[in-house]
C-alpha cells in the first residue's frame, strides 16, 4: 500500500513538477523580458534566445546525467583498478586481450551478430511477403509480432521448456526432444552441448525480432510503386523473380535499417543468456561477462568497465551511420 502512495505521489509530483517548471520558467522569462515597453524588440530577441533552453533544460540535464556522464565515467573507470581508486593505464585492456572468457564472449557475440540479424531479417521478409497476400494476413501478422511483447526472461522460460531434457527412455516433455525421440533419435541435453547451444539461444532472439522486421519490411513492400511490379509481370517475370529482382532491391534501405536496429539489440543481448545458461557451457557473451565482473563475487569495476567500453566501441560505427543518415534527412 505504502508503495502505491509513493508511486502515485511520484506521478503527481513528477507531472506537476514538470508543468510547474515549464510554465513557471516561461512566466519568469516573460516577466523579466516583457515583449512591450521601450525595449520590446531587444527583450523579444533575448526571450526567443533563452526560451528553447527552458524547454530543453530538464531533458538535457537528464540525458547528461544518465547517458553522457556514464559513458565518460565508464571510460575513465576502465583505466583504473578494481575499486576505481588508482590509475592503471591499459592494464585492464591487456588483461582482456589475454583472457580466454573474453575471447569466447567476443567470438559468440560475432556469431550472434551474423546469425540473428540475418535470420530475423530473412524470416521477417518472408513473413511480410506472405502475410500481405492472404486474407487473414492481419491475424497472422499479430501472431508473428506477438513475441515482441514478451520479456526476454519470459521468452527464456518459454524456450527452456522447449529444450527440456529427460533421461533416455523417459517420457520427454520438451517438444524438441519429443520430436527427436519420435523420429527414433536419442534425447539431447541441448543447452549444455557447446557450440550448438549458442544457436539455440539465438533462436529465442530471432523468434522475438522477426515480428519487428516483418512489420517494417511489410510497410516498405507496400510502398513499392505498383507500376514497377506490373511492368515486370508483363515482361514475363515469375513471382520469385518479381520478389528478388524487383521488390527486394527497392527496399534495400529499409532492410539496412532493420538489420542495424537488430544488430544493436544483439550487441546488448544479456537477459536471454543470463537466465538460460548464465554464460556457461561456452555460451558467454560480452554483456553477461561484464555483469559477472561487476556484480558477482569480488567486483572488479575496472575490468567490467573495460568490457562495457568494448561493447560501446562495437556500437559506435552504427551510431555514426545513424547520425549521418539523420542529418542527411534533415537537409
Amino acid at each position: 500500500m505504502e508503495q502505491f502512495v509513493l508511486a502515485s505521489g511520484t506521478i503527481v509530483a513528477g507531472v506537476f513538477g514538470c508543468v510547474a517548471w515549464f510554465w513557471g520558467s516561461n512566466m519568469v522569462l516573460d516577466a523579466v523580458y516583457p515583449a512591450r515597453g521601450h525595449r520590446a524588440g531587444h527583450n523579444m530577441r533575448v526571450a526567443a534566445a533563452v526560451r528553447p533552453w527552458l524547454f530543453l533544460g530538464p531533458a538535457i540535464l537528464l540525458l547528461s546525467a544518465y547517458l553522457v556522464y556514464p559513458v565518460l565515467n565508464s571510460a575513465w573507470r576502465s583505466f583504473n583498478d578494481a575499486d576505481g581508486t588508482s590509475f592503471v593505464g591499459l592494464k585492464n585492456y591487456q588483461w582482456l586481450l589475454a583472457d580466454g572468457k573474453f575471447h569466447e564472449s567476443l567470438t559468440n557475440n560475432m556469431l550472434w551478430l551474423v546469425t540473428v540479424p540475418a535470420l530475423s531479417t530473412i524470416f521477417g521478409l518472408v513473413a511480410a511477403q506472405v502475410t500481405d497476400r492472404i486474407r487473414w494476413g492481419n491475424l497472422a501478422k499479430s501472431m508473428i509480432f506477438m513475441p515482441m511483447a514478451i520479456s526476454f526472461v519470459g521468452a527464456g522460460v518459454i524456450w527452456k521448456f522447449i529444450y527440456d531434457f529427460r533421461g533416455e527412455g523417459l517420457e520427454q516433455i520438451g517438444i524438441l526432444n519429443a520430436i527427436v525421440v519420435y523420429f527414433g533419435g536419442s534425447p539431447q541435453t541441448w543447452l549444455v552441448t557447446p557450440f550448438w547451444n549458442s544457436f539455440l539461444l539465438m533462436a529465442v532472439l530471432v523468434w522475438i525480432q522477426t515480428g519487428f522486421a516483418m512489420v517494417i519490411l511489410s510497410a516498405a513492400l507496400r510502398g513499392i510503386p505498383e507500376e514497377t511490379i506490373e511492368a515486370a509481370i508483363l515482361d514475363g517475370a515469375n513471382p520469385w523473380q518479381v520478389f528478388m529482382r524487383i521488390k527486394v532491391p527497392q527496399i534495400w534501405g529499409t532492410i539496412a535499417v532493420v538489420w542495424t536496429t537488430i544488430t544493436i539489440t544483439v550487441l546488448k543481448v544479456f537477459d536471454i543468456v543470463f537466465v538460460m545458461t548464465n554464460g556457461e557451457w561456452g555460451t558467454q557473451v560480452l554483456a553477461n561477462l561484464m555483469y559477472n565482473w561487476m556484480f558477482r563475487g569480488a567486483p572488479d569495476y575496472g575490468r567490467g568497465s573495460a568490457i562495457a567500453i568494448v561493447i560501446m566501441l562495437l556500437v559506435t560505427p552504427i551510431m555514426i551511420w545513424n547520425i549521418r543518415n539523420a542529418r542527411r534527412e534533415m537537409r
Partner: protein, 377 residues
Amino acid sequence: MEGHAGTRSSLVWAVNLAAALMVLLWTIPTFGLLVTSLRDRDQIAASGWWKAPFASEQTDFVRAGTATDQVAEGEMWVISGDLLAKGEKLLAWGTNSRNPGAYAPGLSVDLPNAQNLTVTADGTYRLTSPTQFTQTTGMRIFITTLTPPRFTFENYTRVIGAEGLGQAFLNTFTVTIPATVIPILIAAFAAYALAWMEFPGRALLIAAVVGLLVVPLQLALIPLLKFHNDIGLGKGYMGIWLAHTGFGLPLAIYLLRNYMVGLPREIIESARVDGASDFQIFRRIILPLSFPALASFAIFQFLWVWNDLLVATVFLGNTREQLVMTGVLRELMGSRGGDWEVLAASAFVSISVPLVVFFAMQKYLVRGLLAGSVKGG
C-alpha cells in the same frame, strides 16, 4: 496477371500454407507454456503438453497396509485396501520396480512364503498369508494407471500467493507507471523545441539524441549506482524511476520530434501571428495533435520497463519483497528449474499485462515502430 491464372491458384495455396506454418512456429512455444500452466502438476511431469487433452498413463507405486492393518479371515491373514485415486483407471500392476506392469488387473499372483496378492480392475487389492504378517512398512505395489486430463488454476493461485509473485506484480506496476508517464512530458517539451524553435546548436542536439539512442545500458550501471549513492538516493524506486526516465528520453525525443516536424506549418505560423506564445502553441496545438506519437512512445516505454531485468536488478534491492516479476522469474528458474507448473504459471502472470497492452494498442505500436525506424534510423 491474367496470364498466370493457372499457376496462380497453386501459388495462393503455397502462400497460405507458408503463412500458416510460420504462425504455427511462432505461436507454439507460447501456447505450449500456456497449456502447461493450466495442467495438473503430476500430469506435466508425466506427458508432454501436446498430450494434455488425452488421458495420461502414469506409473507409480502405492504401499499396501502394514501388519497393524491385517485381519484374520478363517485360516488366513488378510490385508486389503484401495490403490486408485478418484477417476483413475488401472491398466496393469506389478510387485517389482523392474517390471512395474507385469500383471493384468484381476490376476492373482503367488508371492514368496505362500503369500498371495490379488489386484482387481477397480483398484482394490487383497494380500493374503497363512501366517501372521509382521512387516512395519507395507509392500510396494506398482500400478500403471490411466488418468483423465485435469486442468486447474491451482498453479496460478499458488505462484501468486506462496511464490511471492503477487507482491512482485505490485512492485512491477510501481516501477512501470511513473517511469512511463514522467519521460513523456519532459520529452514532449524538448521535442517541440527541437522541431519548431530556431536556436544555435539545434542540429548538434538532434544528432546527439540520435547518437544516444544506441548507447548500451551496460555502461550506465556502475557510474549511476555510485552517483545515486553519492547523492543519497541509494537503491530504491526513486532511483529506478530516474534511471528509466533517462534511458527512455532519447527514443521519446526522437519519436516525438519526428512526428511534430511533420505537423502542418500553417497552423503553427498562424497561431504565432495571432500572438500565441510558444508555451500556448505547445499546450493548445502541438500536444493534442501529437497524441498518436505520445501513445506510441508510452507503449514502447511501458513494454520496455515492464520487461526489463537488468536495470531492476541493479537499481532495486534483491530481497524477495523488492523484486520485480522478471527478477522473481529469474530466481525461480535457478531454484525451481524442474518445476514447470511453477515456472509456466509465473511466466504467464508476468507476460499477461504486456500481451494485453500489445493486443489492445497494436496500432500505435506499429505506427511508432515505423516512425522510429523507416524515417530516421
